[in-house]
């Protein structure tokens, strides 16, 4: 129960948060116990005509994360993440780094979203 994923513009902790979930450049998966990171590239999802949010949620389920930190999540992605019991923390601001997002999560100053905050396909 200790892995989180942050939507990111690049692979490192000091890269910027990508505020899009489905069409994020990638995901930095952080193991909160060891602080080890792993990067999942999302390039193939970005080029999809539709269903990007669902595919991104599949990637998250495959990576075994418990929480996703991002800016915006559409309804289908939210439904898919909820179905596999991955918690969603949204409204991460543009300009913050992956590290800052992770620290905010660890400090407990976040709340779990109870619904999507973006329309489908955006």
């Amino acid at each position: 129960m200790s892995k989180i994923a942050i939507t990111s513009e690049g692979p490192a902790l000091d890269d910027l948060v990508d505020t899009r979930f489905g069409r994020a450049a990638g995901f930095v998966v952080v193991d909160l116990e060891s602080m080890e990171t792993r990067y999942i590239d999302n390039g193939q999802t970005q080029v999809m005509g539709q269903g990007a949010g669902i595919r991104a949620a599949q990637l998250m389920a495959g990576a075994g994360v418990s929480f996703v930190l991002t800016g915006f999540v559409g309804p289908r992605a939210f439904q898919a993440l909820s179905a596999v019991k991955i918690g969603v923390v949204q409204n991460m601001e543009e300009g913050m780094t992956v590290r800052q997002a992770a620290e905010r999560f660890q400090s407990g100053a976040v709340k779990l979203a109870d619904g999507p905050n973006r329309r489908p396909g955006r």
Binding site: I54, A57, A61, A83, V84
Partner: protein, 293 residues
């Protein structure tokens, strides 16, 4: 012969032309409204609707007791309508295009066909003509699968009666517009002599030319704007089928739901001549074919 009335730009007069052509066309005829997102031809032709049916798309329904989460369906689906998510098989019926691939492929026979309602198909009569219309369900995002069902109904009627058909099509140049014109013998492009009209007319020519169908232009609101549309038609060898004048009485009649061919002998003659030119066009090779010659 199937004639589709199309345009790049919306509001150029497709329905005006379709309704008036229906009036002057030799009978029997089928008038079809394939602008399924906002059908309005019936407001002008005022048909007696004789039957309506619900059209639906086949979408997968999962029997969880049989599913082994093998992922074959999930990998096949290009639209993420069916997905293995961890230990779940999650479906999004609204994403499904109805190809039936997942149901055919499932090795456990865990998927069966269910239905997503697409819209309503209505058939009726206007004097000696038949009338066919599709109306997409509010909230449905995919019109082409629904349009294919309306067209299949049209084929049945044509096969039974050997009639001509006039199709009022959606504006634009995306999938619904292409879907509406793709089975026709002649494409009539309605435009107006304005920069916006020309811009979207060019897009429509570009989108429909590869279909290799004979195309002709109708200039509506003739008298406003400039001569660029005419110059473009000449350059691309798109015959001008008719000009409809820019007149207040036409706009007033349209607003009252009248068919403008009924307004005056002069207007009626415009459409009779348009009909003759469309028939001539139908026996000519299309633009695409001409390019290969």
């Amino acid at each position: 012969m199937i004639v589709s009335i199309a345009s790049g730009k919306g509001g150029t007069g497709k329905t005006t032309v379709a309704a008036s052509l229906t009036r002057v066309w030799e009978k029997p005829l089928i008038a079809v409204d394939l602008d399924v997102e906002e059908p309005n031809l019936h407001l002008f032709l005022r048909p007696n609707i004789e039957e309506s049916m619900t059209a639906s798309l086949e979408v997968p329904v999962v029997d969880e007791s049989k599913c082994t989460l093998c992922g074959a369906c999930s990998e096949l689906c290009q639209f993420k309508a069916i997905n293995v998510m961890g230990t779940l098989l999650l479906t999004f019926p609204e994403m499904c295009h109805g190809c039936g691939g997942c149901i055919a492929l499932c090795p456990e026979k865990a998927l069966s066909p269910g239905k997503r309602e697409l819209g309503e198909i209505s058939r009726g009569r206007v004097n000696e003509s038949q009338f066919l219309m599709g109306r997409l369900r509010v909230g449905e995002a995919m019109s082409p699968p629904f349009m294919r069902q309306v067209k299949s109904r049209l084929r049945d009627i044509i096969a039974a009666n050997g009639r001509d058909a006039i199709i009022d099509t959606p504006p634009g140049v995306s999938c619904p517009a292409v879907n509406a014109v793709i089975d026709s013998d002649v494409i009539v492009l309605v435009t107006e002599p304005t920069p916006f009209g020309l811009h979207d007319f060019k897009l429509a020519c570009e989108a429909f030319s590869p279909l290799g169908k004979p195309m002709g232009a109708v200039v509506n609101r003739a008298g406003i704007g400039n001569s660029e549309v005419y110059r473009f038609c000449e350059e691309k060898e798109i015959p001008l089928l008719a000009e409809i004048p820019f007149e207040r009485k036409i706009a007033e009649a349209y607003a009252r739901g009248l068919v403008i061919a009924d307004l005056s002998t002069h207007l009626r003659e415009i459409f009779i001549s348009m009909h003759a030119k469309i028939c001539e066009l139908a026996v000519r090779p299309g633009l695409g074919e001409a390019a290969h010659a």
